[in-house]
């Protein structure tokens, strides 16, 4: 395997170290460090397309890896923009260099995760992501809620890592190796059934924690609410996308393992629990946390369906979800900055105070619902199509019913923005970097919704 295939990760890791040391050396605890951070992420994204392919051993660099690395890099870039543009984040005297380098390290972990070809590699990269995310969650040290969330996240994460390692040990017992290839090449009729299914479940539990799949979702609402808004935006999108990538790579054929029925039920439960939970929320971060649980349940449907269409639909959806979700968070950041609260009431009358922003937020929320011609619709369409194609009609019916339920709370925010009177005077201003985040997310959400074929073709060609 050529070492150059690892260049994206190497560049990011070096940039993270340099920024950390640079801040100490120059004592420039300012937003300045976002710029080299963003530059490094862009460089890594470009390299992810250019570097030579690699396979075998611990690390693969293939089409899916490239695709997901770009997804992850987009998430990191938008998060950097979001954090540097949010006013209410600034006065707390945080160390920007540490924040940026932790985010970059987390991105390194995610990039390694989607390229892992071996369980050990997968666990190590997952731990890199987890540890950096724990710290980011509790980043504001004087914030008790944030610290509490970090501890919760840490305990749950440690527990799930343990489960996952146990599953891997079973896997090793079955195949005598930790290589992911062993499962793909094995004849499933001769390997012992029970330990294999056990391994699949424990591994699923470990990844399920990251993706916040029911019943491993309990941490999500509290952590999402407690973490600073840019961190919430990040952990709700990029790690989930990468975890789905790892799932597709590690367990490409749930049907063959005989666990697809159970996972289908988990998918149904996840969507339902997420949507029903979201209906009653009054805090935007908590609402988006439940919404993200529900959305991941829908994505899981694609993994259940399997096949090229199912896997493709998962990849399409995590890409689109990342943009519409981060767009929604960017709008929430503007509103929270303006009102000084993350309560949903802060959205009241936004259309009177900034019509473009209200329209953008509407695009994100309706895209999350799955209204055409927005990207979320194309994603859901692909997922429904995959489910019907592979005989999961009941799951597709459950998913569309859930889409309708989700409209109730997404439209609830839209209602506040357009129907309610403004509770605060004046126009809502937004910084350049937040405006850029919103614009980029709108461009993808609308552009990919109207002309999705390029993305669909790209995904199809990148499937392993």
């Amino acid at each position: 395997m050529p070492l150059t295939s690892l260049l994206p990760e190497i560049v990011l890791a070096l940039a993270a170290m340099t920024i950390l040391l640079g801040e100490t050396a120059w004592r420039r605890a300012s937003r300045f460090w976002v710029i080299p951070g963003a530059a490094a992420v862009c460089a890594a994204a470009v390299l992810a397309v250019k570097v030579p392919a690699a396979s075998g051993g611990m690390f693969v660099m293939d089409g899916m890896g490239r695709f997901l690395k770009i997804v992850v890099a987009s998430g990191a870039l938008l998060t950097l923009g979001l954090s540097s543009g949010m006013k209410s984040w600034r006065p707390r005297g945080i160390s920007w260099g540490a924040f940026v380098s932790l985010l970059l390290l987390s991105t390194v972990g995610l990039m390694l995760l989607v390229s892992s070809a071996d369980w050990l590699m997968l666990v190590v990269s997952l731990e890199l992501v987890s540890v950096t995310c724990f710290i980011l969650t509790g980043f504001l040290k004087d914030d008790r809620r944030g610290s509490e969330a970090a501890i919760k996240y840490f305990l749950m994460g440690a527990f799930s890592a343990g489960l996952m390692l146990y599953g891997i040990s079973l896997y090793y017992g079955v195949f005598g190796t930790t290589s992911l290839n062993a499962l793909r090449t094995a004849d499933l009729n001769v390997v012992p059934r029970l330990p294999l299914v056990g391994a699949a479940f424990f591994v699923l539990a470990g990844l399920g924690f990251k993706m916040a799949i029911v019943p491993f979702h309990m941490w999500a609402p509290d952590v999402f609410e407690g973490a600073p808004l840019p961190v919430t935006a990040f952990i709700s999108s990029a790690p989930k996308a990468a975890a789905f990538g790892a799932l597709l790579r590690a367990l490409p054929n749930l049907d063959g393992l005989g666990v697809s029925g159970v996972v289908a039920i988990l998918s149904l439960l996840t969507m339902t629990v997420g949507n029903v939970g979201a209906l009653r929320q009054t805090n935007i971060k908590r609402l988006l946390a439940y919404s993200s649980i529900a959305q991941m349940g829908t994505v899981l449907m694609g993994a259940v369906a399997g096949g090229d269409s199912g896997r493709g639909a998962v990849l399409i959806y995590v890409l689109f979800y990342l943009f519409m979700n981060l767009g929604a968070f960017a709008c929430a950041a503007v509103v929270a900055d303006d009102a000084g609260t993350e309560d949903l009431g802060a959205f009241s009358g936004l259309a009177r105070r900034s019509l473009p922003l209200a329209l953008c937020a509407t695009i994100f929320f309706f895209s999350l619902t799955g209204i055409p011609p927005l990207a979320g619709f194309v994603g859901k369409f692909s997922l429904f199509a995959a489910a019907l194609e592979h005989g999961w009609a009941w799951l597709a019916v459950a998913a569309v019913v859930n889409s309708v339920v989700s409209l109730a709370y997404y439209a609830g925010i839209v209602r506040r923005m357009f129907f309610d009177e403004a509770t605060r005077p004046g126009r809502v201003g937004l910084s350049i970097s937040l405006a850029a985040c919103v614009a980029a997310a709108v461009a993808v959400t609308l552009g990919a919704g109207l002309f999705p074929d390029r993305v669909l073709a790209w995904v199809r060609s990148s499937l392993p």
Partner: protein, 523 residues
């Protein structure tokens, strides 16, 4: 010239331009909105002039859009859709003009309004099922805002109820569309092309397509609205601002009937025939239930809203005639009824809006003797109420007569058709009562000096509709001729499906020879 694309997207361009203007430039916004709604109407008249009524799909446009799913940007009109396009164009111009009185957030108002128009026109001109669905859903969002921001006292509840109801219907439609796609052939030959799907309709026969049929039916039935999915309608109609009620009753309801004919009848004719015994009962319930509910109303707008449920029942009755000996009459009647109901009910909502603007109430009990104070208003209202109750010589009669004629052509279940006639009687009762309570009798003196007759603009919006009501009442041929070929196609389609031995071997779908694409266009 991509005529249909222009018709569809000129309003969208207007909407985006309006959004770029400043809220203060009200005159410019209104003018732009009128132009953006007027151009498609003029273009659709131009299309009608060049339309060959004896032929099938015309003005076709076809571009590849999403090759991964074999989705095309395919447009075209036939006798089924062209009258709807014309009606949409006409009612949109009139509604925009009637909205000139709106002062609140007019930039957003016209933005949503024109976006809605693009969605509606798109539904009628799309020939690709995916594209159809996209436009179908696009209509929901602007309607949500139009009701929710500019509506009446219960606007927020009405808006979300409308949105949830219709979205719930349409997501099932999406699954139905996907199921048709997957059943339409081998992986390489699958299609969303509605004409092609219709040509392959033998593939979709048999009991295993029942759930597909029902999923699609539910999506359309919510819009029509057919019993038992009608409960969103009175609330949405009453709470919506006047011009939006016109669009809601005049066009959005027709999207449901249109879909029923374009999809259920043309693509799934076999199951459509088997569904008729149920459909005729639903039509009967719509007619009777709508009529009696309307009779119980004291709020004029609510009365007109319930009368729409009743009138859509006639449409369904005409469609249910599809296997009878007068099936062509029934289908022509249903299509005629769609147009005439759009014109008549649209004008009734405008008329009720006029009195509400002056009196801020629509309660019939508070009026009386208005005929002497507002003679022109009384005259117009009387003509349109008479048309709505089906007085011969006015447009409403032609459609109802043909629907009943067709329905009696069916030998089975005549009892329901016979009982439905009661609906006409009840309709006459409540409209006459409305006229009596509002225009005759003692004048309520609290309105002294407050009720002026219709203004020039109001007359301008009403005059074309009233003129068309009379014109189509005495000379219905322009509509009937235009729809003739489409009616014949649907009749042939369903009688062919009825003649086929129910396609008892759907399992061997791959073996069924697919018609060559070149011959797929129905005449």
């Amino acid at each position: 010239m991509p005529l249909l694309s222009l018709i569809t997207f000129v309003p969208l361009v207007g909407a985006v331009l309006i959004l770029a203007l400043k809220e203060e430039r009200k005159g410019l916004i209104r003018g732009l909105a009128l132009a953006a709604a007027g151009i498609p109407f003029l273009l659709s008249i131009y299309a009608y002039a060049g339309f060959t009524s004896s032929a099938g799909m015309q003005f076709m446009e076809n571009l590849s859009w999403i090759p991964s799913f074999n989705i095309h940007y395919k447009l075209g009109v036939d006798g089924l859709s062209l009258p709807m396009v014309l009606l949409t164009g006409l009612l949109s111009v009139i509604s925009v003009w009637a909205s000139f009185g709106i002062e609140k957030r007019i930039r957003e108002y016209f933005f949503w309004f024109l976006l809605l128009e693009t969605g509606m026109l798109g539904v009628f001109v799309s020939l690709d099922f995916f594209l159809f669905y996209v436009f179908w859903e696009i209509t929901l969002v602007p309607m949500y805002f139009l009701i929710g921001v500019w509506g009446g006292p219960q606007k927020e509840y009405a808006a979300i109820k409308f949105f949830l109801y219709t979205l719930a219907g349409s997501v099932f439609m999406l699954l139905g569309i996907l199921a048709l796609f997957f059943a339409s052939g081998d992986p390489g030959a699958r299609t969303f092309d509605m004409i092609e799907l219709s040509a392959r309709s033998p593939l979709f026969a048999g009991a295993k397509f029942w759930w597909v049929f029902l999923a699609l039916y539910v999506g359309f039935a919510v819009k029509i609205p057919a019993f038992p999915f009608h409960t969103w309608l009175p609330l949405a109609h009453v709470e919506a601002p006047t011009a939006v009620s016109v669009i809601l009753a005049g066009i959005l309801l027709k999207m449901g009937v249109y879909g029923l004919l374009r999809v259920n009848a043309a693509i799934l004719p076999d199951l459509m025939i088997k569904f008729l015994p149920v459909l005729i009962i639903i039509a009967f319930i719509n007619i009777i239930w709508g009529a009696f509910c309307a009779m119980g109303q004291r709020d004029m707008k609510r009365l007109v809203a319930y009368s729409s449920i009743n009138h859509m029942g006639y449409c369904l009755l005409g469609i249910a005639a599809i296997t009878g000996s007068y099936s062509a009459a029934g289908l022509s009647g249903a299509m005629f009824q769609m147009v005439s109901h759009g014109i008549i009910t649209g004008s009734l909502f405008l008329l009720v809006g006029i009195i509400y603007d002056r009196a801020h109430t629509r309660n019939m009990d508070e009026f009386g003797g208005l005929a002497s104070k507002m003679p022109l208003f009384a005259g117009l209202m009387t003509v349109q109420c008479m048309a709505s109750l089906g007085l011969p010589g006015l447009a409403g009669f032609v459609g109802e007569f043909l629907c009943f004629l067709g329905a009696f052509g069916r030998t089975e279940q005549r009892i329901f058709v016979a009982l439905s006639v009661i609906g006409i009687l009840v309709t006459a009762t409540f409209f006459l009562k409305l006229l009596k309570d509002v225009f005759l009798g003692e004048f309520n003196t609290k309105w002294e000096g407050r009720l002026s007759d219709v203004t020039g603009r109001e007359l301008g919006t009403l005059a074309p509709l009233v003129a068309l009501t009379v014109f189509f009442g005495v000379y219905p041929r322009p509509i009937l001729d235009a729809t003739e070929a489409a009616v014949r196609f649907l009749v042939d389609k369903t009688s062919a499906a009825a003649a086929a031995p129910a396609a008892s071997t759907p399992a061997t779908s791959a073996a069924v020879p697919l018609p060559a694409p070149a011959t797929a266009v129905p005449r």
